[in-house]
C-alpha cells in the first residue's frame, strides 16, 4: 500500500502544536506504518517536496519567509490543514499587530536590551506588517483550532484521510 505523504510546517508559533502531534503516544507507532513524514521540523528534508497529501501548518504567517513558504506549500499540497490557533486566528503572534513593526523591533532589540542594541537584519526574514492567519493568504481545507489542538484531534484528521473519510465530520472545535 502506498503510504500517505504527510508534511508539517512550523511558521510563527511556539511548536506546541508539534508537541501535541507527538503527544499521541503509542498511536504514533501504528500511524507511522501508514504515513511517510516527508517534510517538517521532525524530519531532515531541506526542500518541501511535490505531491504531498496532507500538510499540517502550525503558526501564523508573520514574515516574508513564512509567506513564500506557505504559497509554495499550497501549490504542492492536496489537503492543507491549519493546525492550532496561531494558524487559524493569528493568536499570540498576532498580539503584536496593533504595534507598528519598526516601533516593535526598536522596543525589543534596542530599548529592551543592555548589550548589542541593534535591530537584527542578517539571516532573519523581514517581518510583515501583521502576523495573520494562514487562511488570509492561501486556501485552507481544514481548520483545527486549539492551543494546542488535542493530539486525538490531529491524529483523527490523519486517520480520516487514510480511510478516505471527510476529516471535518464530527470534529469538536474549541479556540484556546
Amino acid at each position: 500500500m502506498k503510504k500517505l505523504k504527510v508534511a508539517t510546517v512550523w511558521l510563527d508559533g511556539c511548536s506546541g502544536c508539534h508537541m501535541s502531534l507527538l503527544d499521541m503516544d503509542a498511536a504514533v507507532i501504528s500511524l507511522a506504518q501508514k504515513i511517510e513524514m516527508v517534510y517538517g521540523p521532525l524530519v531532515d528534508a531541506q526542500e518541501f517536496p511535490e505531491g504531498v497529501d496532507v500538510t499540517l501548518v502550525e503558526g501564523a504567517v508573520s514574515s516574508q519567509e513564512d509567506l513564500n513558504k506557505i504559497q509554495k506549500i499550497r501549490q504542492r499540497t492536496a489537503i492543507l490543514v491549519s493546525m492550532g490557533d496561531c494558524a487559524v486566528t493569528g493568536n499570540v503572534p498576532a498580539m503584536r499587530n496593533p504595534i507598528p513593526v519598526q516601533r516593535l523591533l526598536q522596543r525589543v532589540y534596542v530599548e529592551g536590551t543592555l548589550e548589542g542594541k541593534a535591530v537584527p537584519t542578517d539571516g532573519v526574514p523581514p517581518l510583515l506588517k501583521h502576523a495573520r492567519p494562514v487562511r488570509e493568504f492561501v486556501k485552507v481545507d481544514l481548520c483545527l483550532p486549539g492551543c494546542p489542538p488535542p493530539a486525538k484531534t490531529i491524529s483523527g484528521v490523519i486517520a480520516a484521510v487514510l480511510e478516505g473519510r471527510k476529516p471535518d465530520a464530527n470534529l469538536t472545535v474549541k479556540f484556546g
Binding site: V88, T89, V92, M95, R132, P133, P145, F175, G176
Partner: protein, 237 residues
C-alpha cells in the same frame, strides 16, 4: 391577577405562554433552548447580540427571541439552516472585531463567546481580522477592564444600573468605534459612583471584565447569582 394564557408552538410543539412574555421566556419555561449571548435572566433584554434570532411563521425577517413578545397562535422555529448561518456569522463578526486571544485569556474555558463558537461549530472565520489597538483599564483596585475582549453586550451596563443602582457603565460612540466607558469616559478607578460590588464582572460573558490578578483560565463567572438576586428583587418589588 395572572396574565392571559396563550398557546404558541415552538419547533412544532405546543407550549404554554403568558401575555407579556417574550419568545425567549416562553421557550425557557417550556424547556426549549434558544442560544443567547447578551441576555441575562433577570435584567432587561436589549436584543443586542442577535444570537437568539428565531423564525416566526408568516413573517419574512428573523426576530430576536429575547425582545419579541409572544402572540396567540404564533409558530416559532428556533433551529433552521438559515438561523444557524446567521448565528455563525454573528459569532464570526464578534471574533474578528476585537482581539479575542483565547489562549491567553483569564476566561479561557469559561467564556460564553468561546462556548458559543464551539456549540455552533465555528472553527474559523470567513472575514479578515480587524486587530484594533485597544486599551485596558487597570485603574480599579479590584477589577480590570480589557476592551480587547468586550463584545458590547451591555450586561455590565444593565446590572450596574438595574441591580446595583449605580449606573457607572455606559456606551460611547457608535458602530465599530463603540466603547464601554465608566462614568463620563473616565478611569474606572476614579469613579465615585462605583461601589466595587463586582456585579458587572460576574455578569460579563467574556474576559472583558475580570478580577485583578487572575491568570489564564482562572476567571470563573457566577452570573447565575446575578440572576438569582434579580429574581429576589423582582419578587420583593
Amino acid at each position: 391577577m395572572p396574565n392571559k394564557k396563550l398557546s404558541i408552538r415552538i419547533d412544532g410543539a405546543l407550549v404554554d405562554a403568558y401575555e407579556g412574555q417574550t419568545i425567549l421566556q416562553a421557550a425557557r419555561a417550556g424547556g426549549k433552548y434558544i442560544p443567547t449571548l447578551c441576555d441575562l435572566e433577570g435584567i432587561t433584554p436589549v436584543g443586542g447580540c442577535r444570537i437568539c434570532m428565531v423564525e416566526v411563521e408568516g413573517i419574512d425577517r428573523v426576530m430576536a427571541a429575547c425582545t419579541s413578545p409572544v402572540q396567540e397562535g404564533m409558530s416559532v422555529k428556533t433551529t433552521t439552516p438559515r438561523l444557524t448561518q446567521h448565528r455563525r456569522l454573528t459569532v464570526e463578526l464578534l471574533l474578528v472585531e476585537r482581539n479575542h486571544t483565547c489562549a491567553v485569556c483569564v476566561s479561557n474555558g469559561h467564556c460564553e463567546l468561546q462556548t458559543m463558537a464551539t456549540n455552533l461549530g465555528v472553527s474559523t472565520v470567513r472575514l479578515a481580522y480587524n486587530f484594533p489597538k485597544l486599551e485596558t483599564d487597570l485603574s480599579h483596585p479590584k477589577y480590570v477592564l480589557d476592551h480587547n475582549r468586550c463584545i458590547l453586550c451591555t450586561r455590565c451596563v444593565r446590572v450596574c444600573s438595574e441591580l446595583e443602582g449605580a449606573h457607572v457603565w455606559n456606551l460611547t460612540s457608535r458602530g465599530i468605534n463603540t466603547r464601554l466607558v465608566a462614568d463620563l469616559n473616565g478611569k474606572w478607578g476614579d469613579s465615585k459612583g462605583c461601589t466595587s460590588c463586582g456585579k458587572c464582572v460576574q455578569a460579563c460573558p467574556t474576559g472583558a471584565l475580570a478580577d485583578k490578578g487572575r491568570a489564564v483560565e482562572e476567571m470563573v463567572k457566577q452570573n447565575d447569582r446575578i440572576s438569582a438576586l434579580a429574581m429576589r428583587r423582582g419578587a420583593e418589588a
